[in-house]
């Protein structure tokens, strides 16, 4: 079973590839039984981090322990106790669904039958296609099979590198539902995603950009890190609204968000409720008659962009 103490403990890890700093001074813990998210865009360093945790690559500096074991000295012991689903589809396309599962079970010295109980809720969804070649499955089905293959040897820790990239919105929800079921059964899970909306499915998330951790927080409380009054503004003339808002002297940041535009006011001490009527009047004065303004709570994407601006000159 999982030993006492954190399931993953990363301490001041650094990794370079030539001139590229993939990870810089990364430190975090994942508690046993936690569903932990790594949230960040392509190139943030998420995959490198997984490669270090799965002992496929060595860190340049710092240290990391997985299930209490050192990723450098005790890599063999780690490998049989973790399940890893790489970002790229890495099953055998020419083997059937069932053959893939039996293959991965045998590599870990076990059988499909021994792992059956853990994978049953997921496998039942792909069982009708047991004889189909893995390469002929739909995107959502491939992900589920890959998850089964990562679970078939009953690992204590599951590492998932962007399991939902390129998957449609419905299959993404179903996949996270499965992860929550597994977590409820006591499995520790670390999953990465570029989709901010998936962060709320995690207990804690680390926001990553350019190889650095920007913040680690409970996704439901992360909004409190946003220090500016935030308002959602709507108008039928979206581009004009964007330009007008950006031209206002008190604009801190202005970004489109679905059918609205989020306007953060530079005056951190002001109350969004008080700003709303003023902003509406000003927009009307500038010719946006249908402007609809309402104060809102910042979400994870608001926070992420705010942190990006604070740490990266390139993003500005």
């Amino acid at each position: 079973m999982t030993p006492p103490g954190p399931a993953v403990s990363v301490s001041a890890i650094g990794k370079r590839f030539g001139d590229v700093v993939a990870l810089h001074d990364v430190t975090f813990d994942v508690r046993a039984g936690e569903l932990f998210g790594l949230i960040g865009p392509d190139g943030a360093g998420k995959t490198t981090l997984f490669r270090l945790l799965t002992t496929v690559q060595l860190p340049d500096t710092g240290s990391a322990r997985v299930l209490g074991l050192d990723v450098v000295k005790e890599f063999r012991a780690i490998r049989s106790r973790i399940g890893y689903m790489p970002g790229r589809f890495s099953l055998y396309a020419d083997l059937s669904v069932e053959e893939n599962l039996r293959f991965f079970a045998s590599v870990f010295g076990t059988t499909l039958e021994a792992g059956q109980q853990l994978i049953a809720p997921i496998y039942s969804q792909i069982a009708p296609f047991a004889d189909r070649r893995a390469g002929a499955l739909s995107g959502g089905m491939k992900q589920k099979l890959a998850l089964c293959c990562a679970l078939v040897h009953r690992p204590e820790l599951l590492l998932l590198d962007e399991p939902t990239t390129g998957v449609d919105a419905v299959s993404r929800r179903e996949f996270w539902d499965l992860l929550e079921t597994l977590r409820a059964d006591g499995l520790t899970i670390v999953a990465s995603t570029p989709y901010m909306d998936e962060a709320v499915r995690c207990e804690r998330v680390a926001l990553i950009q350019h190889g650095r951790i920007l913040d680690i927080a409970d996704p439901r409380r992360i909004g409190s890190r946003f220090r500016h009054p935030l308002l959602a503004v709507r108008s039928a003339e979206r581009m004009r609204l964007l330009r007008t808002l950006r031209g206002l002297p008190d604009a801190h940041s202005v970004y489109p968000f679905g059918d609205a535009v989020h306007f953060a006011d530079a005056r951190a001490d002001r109350d969004a409720q008080a700003i709303a009527p003023e902003l509406r009047r000003e927009l009307q004065r500038q010719g946006i008659a249908d402007a609809d303004v309402s104060p809102i709570e910042p979400g994870i994407e608001d926070v992420f962009m705010e942190l990006m601006l604070g740490t990266s000159a390139e993003a500005a």
Binding site: G40, P41, D42, G43, A44, S138, G139, G140, E162, T165, G166, V167, D168, A169, V170, S171, R172, R173, P194, Y195, M196, Q209, R238, M239, L242, Y255, P256, F257, G258, D259, E301, F304, M305, M308, L309, E314, A315
Partner: protein, 250 residues
Amino acid sequence: MTGAPAGDAAIEVRGLTRRFGTFTAVDAISFDVAAGEVFGFLGANGAGKTTAIRMLIGLLAPSGGSARVAGFDVATQAEQVKRNIGYMSQRFSLYEDLTVRENITLYGGIYGLSDRAITDRMTSLVDRLDLGRDLDTRVKGIPLGWKQKLAFSVAVLHDPKVVFLDEPTGGVDPITRRQFWELIYTTAASGTTVFVTTHYMDEAEYCDRVSIMVDGRIVALGTPSELKAQYEARTIDDVFVRLARAGNAA
């Protein structure tokens, strides 16, 4: 349903169908897209989007029905279609080992632009994307977000009537994603029709109209506000999930 936009259609699809053996991937879809419109083409994995797009860009012959893109028939005038459209896929079409300048020159040549036109385009592109100091950098050395914007700019280098964007923003950071959409708007405002697929449902709200494809058919089509009103949903994400789930159950 809002089937026919005003003005000349840049894309006209009538009963377009594609079968593979006994499987019907695209099942008699019909819609129009107006010149200068930003049209979101949504659907679950396996719903038939990619097959439909391959027919619309002249790469795959339809089994039935018809489609005109930029004024040309996709079945009988596929070559003219290809010359009058731009295409950018999820994975970039840029050559990583060539510099930014070389990529622009290469594509300009492929699209049949004169040297003069290529130079002009290069100058305006460099201005707009602020690429000056990276012009002689190999593409693999420039940040992902810039690569994406460059790939888009190359896709519209020849001023096509219609540009197809297949999941152009996958994996990009949230700020770059938004900058990319402003590029889309600017392009549409100059008259180019934008046909875009995405898995980010907030981006669906940025489109003038969206269609939602389930099991080879278009089951919903309209402006984002129309669809939200029709399905009494708060967001397009809610509309999408409801329709796509209903399809999966079938």
